[in-house]
Symmetry: C2
Amino acid sequence: MLKVNEYFEGNAKSISFQTATLPATVGVISPGEYEFGTTKKETMTVVSGALTVLLPGMDTWMTYAAGESFEIAGQASFKAKSDIDTAYLCTYE
Amino acid sequence: MLKVNEYFEGNAKSISFQTATLPATVGVISPGEYEFGTTKKETMTVVSGALTVLLPGMDTWMTYAAGESFEIAGQASFKAKSDIDTAYLCTYE
């Protein structure tokens, strides 16, 4: 059974699944600014929209558009903001 | 509020959102074979996994891997099957 996850009072939702090799989610982030925490290392790929992120240890916000990816270490937190609904694929290692 | 949709007794789930130009969903289809119906014209892009589809009026199944897209006319039905969890982006025109 596919599990649905909800964050930030429903402003971000995702569906958990299994790729051929890794656990993953696809999800949508509504416009706003959020702080996410990681457990495992995450590779996030923007599928639609654009996400502007402040990665751990960085002092510059970077914007990732559809088709672009970034990685976040495990046991870290990062900030992400978007002006439009943004869909993403996330794999966990 | 992001809306979650459920099909085929929970074997397919999606999240509705709005791209810059079109209504859209991201979703996951569990392994199996399903028949989907369309209302509007759909453009479906595989995001993870692979989907083998029998499009309306075709007699050959075609397989689409991650990054590949196909279109389905509105008011049509098509069959889709997958051996692994498959994530997709769908836009509606």
